[in-house]
């Protein structure tokens, strides 16, 4: 049994580092327990069909609202490959504290596929944007150290400190609604603890602060933030052991940005311009939410629309979700885990973008917008730092011990 628990615990140390807009950032059974020295591998499949998201009011709305009707979705799948090392490189030294507290390091690679469906694809193509992404995601690396283990009767408690760095090496297309990479760095210091009661109840919790770097090349017409806000994360998980083979858990996870996201390079626009009078009003309304005044629409031969780049700010994001899962531990080498997560509240990023209307090419010398014709359009911010899903996701994991501790 002593062997089993460390293996269960190997499931997910440092999940803040894999915070993919709430898709991965969840607690797990014995996530922060002190493990036996050794090397562990983990394979995780996460899949979701996002039909609903949170708007800036905290209301649940369908994906693409109001630009596309209900019924379409964003389908996302993430494959995580993790390698964990635990040991003590200072064991034979005289360095205080480090020589008797084991350390751990972890590398997390991921592959992803995200694809919008139906009318979302059609709309995005009209703006010269693609609606899908696949390939390599960002790389996460973390290192940390275990604290003292304490025992008070039936209670066992142990803390740890860790820091995760997200390396933005994932595929990133500036002309895409979705991306598997984020194109900005993150550094995430984290405090966590693991506690056991009577050897039956396992509680894990953590607090992490995600410092985000800037993104100088936003995607999807600037609807990803150029300055993603930092994010605070709090999570806790409680598990019950039915037997040495079977566990079940429930968890709670909350994240909230520190202030708003900032957008400084907004450029989403209709690809084919100028717009002929007969379609200018309809196209701009359907695709951008911009209602060109009819008197202007009917008075000129062609129109151009051009957005103001900003800066804009959203109201910040937040998301809270509940998880529930079951675990099967096969001997000491394999753990299988099935989990479902359900968002219960949240707030997504939206901005009010301003469009100017021109009677000539906006980039031509001396071009000026038609006075009084500017329009405001509320746009949904997208991707990791700005969108918050309101749809459940499913997670299937397998932990495998390549080499015994």
């Amino acid at each position: 049994m002593r062997r089993l628990l460390p293996l269960v615990a190997a499931l997910a140390i440092g999940l803040p580092g894999t915070a993919k807009a709430g898709i991965v950032f969840t607690p797990h059974l014995s996530e922060y327990s002190r493990l036996a020295p050794g090397q562990y591998t983990e394979f995780t499949l996460i899949t979701t069909e996002i039909e609903e998201v949170y708007n800036r009011e905290g209301d649940t709305v369908h994906v693409g609202s109001p630009f596309i009707p209900p019924g379409d979705s964003v389908d996302a799948t993430l494959l995580l490959l993790k390698y964990l090392w635990i040991g003590n490189v200072f064991r034979d030294t005289d360095i205080w504290y480090l020589n008797d507290h084991p350390q751990f390091c972890r590398i997390i690679g991921n592959l992803g596929h995200q694809q919008a469906t139906g009318k979302a694809v059609t709309r995005d193509l009209t703006a010269g944007q693609h609606s899908g992404a696949s390939g390599l995601g960002d790389l996460f690396g973390l290192c940390g150290i275990y604290g003292e283990e304490h025992r008070w009767g039936p209670v066992k408690f142990s803390p740890l400190l860790a820091t995760t760095v997200k390396f933005p090496v994932g595929r990133y297309d500036t002309d895409a609604l979705l991306n598997t990479g984020t194109n900005y760095w993150s550094v995430i210091p984290q405090f966590a603890f693991h506690s056991e009661l009577f050897g039956r109840v396992y509680i894990d919790g953590t607090f992490a602060w995600q410092f985000n770097g800037d993104n100088d090349d936003p995607s999807f017409g600037g609807l990803t933030p150029t300055q993603p806000a930092d994010v605070r994360n709090i999570e806790v998980n409680a598990a019950w052991k039915f037997s040495e083979h079977w566990f079940a858990d429930i968890g709670w996870s909350h994240r909230r940005s520190v202030g708003p996201n900032r957008y400084e390079k907004y450029s989403l626009n209709l690809k084919d311009q100028p717009l002929p009078p007969t379609s200018a009003c309809n196209s701009s309304a359907e695709l951008l939410g911009v209602v060109v005044p009819p008197e202007i629409c009917n008075s000129a031969e062609y129109f151009y629309l051009k957005p103001r780049p900003g800066p804009y700010e959203d109201r910040g994001i937040e998301g809270t979700l509940l998880t529930a899962g079951i675990y099967y531990v096969y001997r000491t080498s394999t753990v299988l885990n099935l989990r479902i997560a359900q968002p219960i509240s949240g707030r997504g990023g939206q901005i009010d973008a301003t469009y100017d209307v021109y009677a000539q090419d906006p980039d031509s010398p001396g071009a000026t917008p038609i006075p009084g014709a500017e329009q405001t359009s509320t746009q949904n911010a997208v991707q990791e730092a700005a969108a918050v899903s309101a749809s459940p996701y499913l997670e299937l994991r397998m932990v495998y011990l390549f080499w015994a501790p």
């Binding site: 062997r3 394979f43 499949l45 799948t77 494959l79 592959l111 992803g112 596929h113 694809q115 919008a116 469906t117 139906g118 694809v121 693609h130 609606s131 899908g132 696949s134 390939g135 390599l136 595929r171 083979h245 084919d272 717009l275 002929p276 009078p277 007969t278 379609s279 099967y328 096969y330 001997r331 000491t332 080498s333 394999t334 397998m398 495998y400 011990l401 390549f402 080499w403 015994a404 501790p405």
Partner: protein, 398 residues
């Protein structure tokens, strides 16, 4: 030690194939239960993909018969497959599950591909197209149960042969997919498959295997190269047969056959075609575009034969080389009507924009609609990691 020997023996009977989803897996020992443990396969394959079978089944010296100049899209594929064999819920006495061995497989890929020849001229003529989408490939996840032949794996006298396997799998489209490229590492759509196979030892040192499978493809919401690849790939059915024979201790030779048939592929609203008809010269300042709609080819097929040599370099290490030669097949092609438009580039519906029925082009379906007639070579290496338990005795309970 005996367990290790048996594990190695079983490992000999499996070889990783560097097969794409369009080429049936005919690896020797694919339907046999291995001794519980982890087996890792690393393989490399190359295919010039410079010939295809056209829609009439005729072999053509180009990948795109509709273009006057030959095109090819050479492929280099590296693959890593992690395959576990394990009992499941042994102490739970769950019917079916607890009494047999199971297998789980994860296959990761990296594909290097490019477009050369005639199609490149068309790509270069437009600034919104790309030559290829090379990189990480799709990921295949599989789970299977040995229907027979995997019950008494702990007994000393059991032989890992005469077995049957039911395998269920899914293709996760994690592969790189450049929407503007004619050839890609990824497929951008999910696919699910079921496979049933059996293995039999007809005489000493021989292994005869046969199986069949069916694959269902889900929608590709953004098919590549302006929609010239299917938005809905037709479902596939395939059959495979192989015979392996030990030549010398540690050296095996196998021969294989495979046959795959794909139902009609659907294409939705293609945006352009490299062999588009010329706009009518009689109408000044006009152009044309593919008439929006759903189009369908007549399906695809591919029949191959293969040879492979397997050599046990060490007890846990197997090296294999394989060669696959396509015998016959059929690619997807369809007729694409065009609409003439005047003035060029005008938006349909605008007051001054007029349209009329244009000519029709016969175009090649891309992506999974191609059935290549070129040979494929592969090298693979397999290592048996064993069970990886903290226990010294594999199979012991605690």
């Amino acid at each position: 030690m005996r367990g290790v020997t048996r594990a190695s023996s079983a490992a000999l009977l499996l070889m990783a194939s560097a097969a794409q989803a369009d080429v049936a897996d005919t690896a020797l020992g694919r339907y046999l239960p291995l001794y519980p443990g982890l087996y890792v396969d690393l393989s490399y394959a190359q295919d010039e993909r410079d010939r295809v079978f056209d829609a009439d089944g005729e072999e053509q010296d180009t990948a795109t018969p509709s273009l006057p100049d030959p095109t090819r899209s050479p492929l280099r594929e590296a693959q890593a497959r992690f395959a576990w064999t394990f009992p499941l819920f042994e102490s739970q006495n769950i019917p079916f599950l607890s009494s047999r061995l199971h297998t789980a497989r994860v296959t990761l890929r990296h594909l290097g591909t490019e477009t050369r020849g005639g199609l490149v001229d068309f790509i270069d003529s437009r600034d919104d197209l790309a030559n290829n989408g090379s990189g990480i490939g799709d990921t295949t996840l599989e789970f299977g149960s040995f229907l027979w032949g995997g019950r008494d794996w702990r007994s000393e006298g059991s032989t890992p042969g005469n077995a049957g396997l039911l395998l269920l799998g899914v293709n996760v489209p994690t592969g790189v997919y450049e929407h503007e490229a004619p050839t890609n590492a990824g497929s951008n759509h999910w696919a699910f498959h079921a496979q049933l196979g059996a293995a039999w030892r007809p005489w000493s040192g021989a292994l005869l295997e046969t199986g069949a499978g069916y694959r269902v493809h889900l929608v590709n919401y953004e098919p590549q190269f302006g929609g010239l690849a299917p938005s809905e790939q037709g479902d596939d059915a395939w059959f495979d047969l192989s015979l392996g024979q030990r030549l010398l201790p540690g050296l095996h030779l196998s021969a294989s056959l495979s046959d795959r048939h794909g139902q009609a592929n659907l294409y939705e609203d293609p945006q352009y075609a490299p062999n588009a008809p010329t706009p009518p010269a009689t109408v000044p300042e006009s152009d044309n575009f593919p008439t929006p709609g759903r189009y369908e080819d007549d399906g695809t097929s591919l029949r191959t034969a293969g040879l492979a040599l397997h050599w046990f370099v060490a007890q846990r290490l197997l090296v294999s080389a394989s060669y696959v030669h396509p015998l016959s097949g059929r690619s997807g092609e369809f007729d694409l009507p065009f609409t003439n438009r005047q003035p060029a580039g005008c938006i349909e519906g605008a007051a001054n924009c007029t349209t009329s029925e244009g000519e029709t082009a016969h175009v090649d379906g891309l992506g999974p609609a191609r059935s290549y007639a070129s040979d494929r070579w592969a090298l693979s290496l397999r290592y048996n990691f064993g069970q990886g338990d903290a226990f010294t005795c594999v199979g012991c309970s605690r």
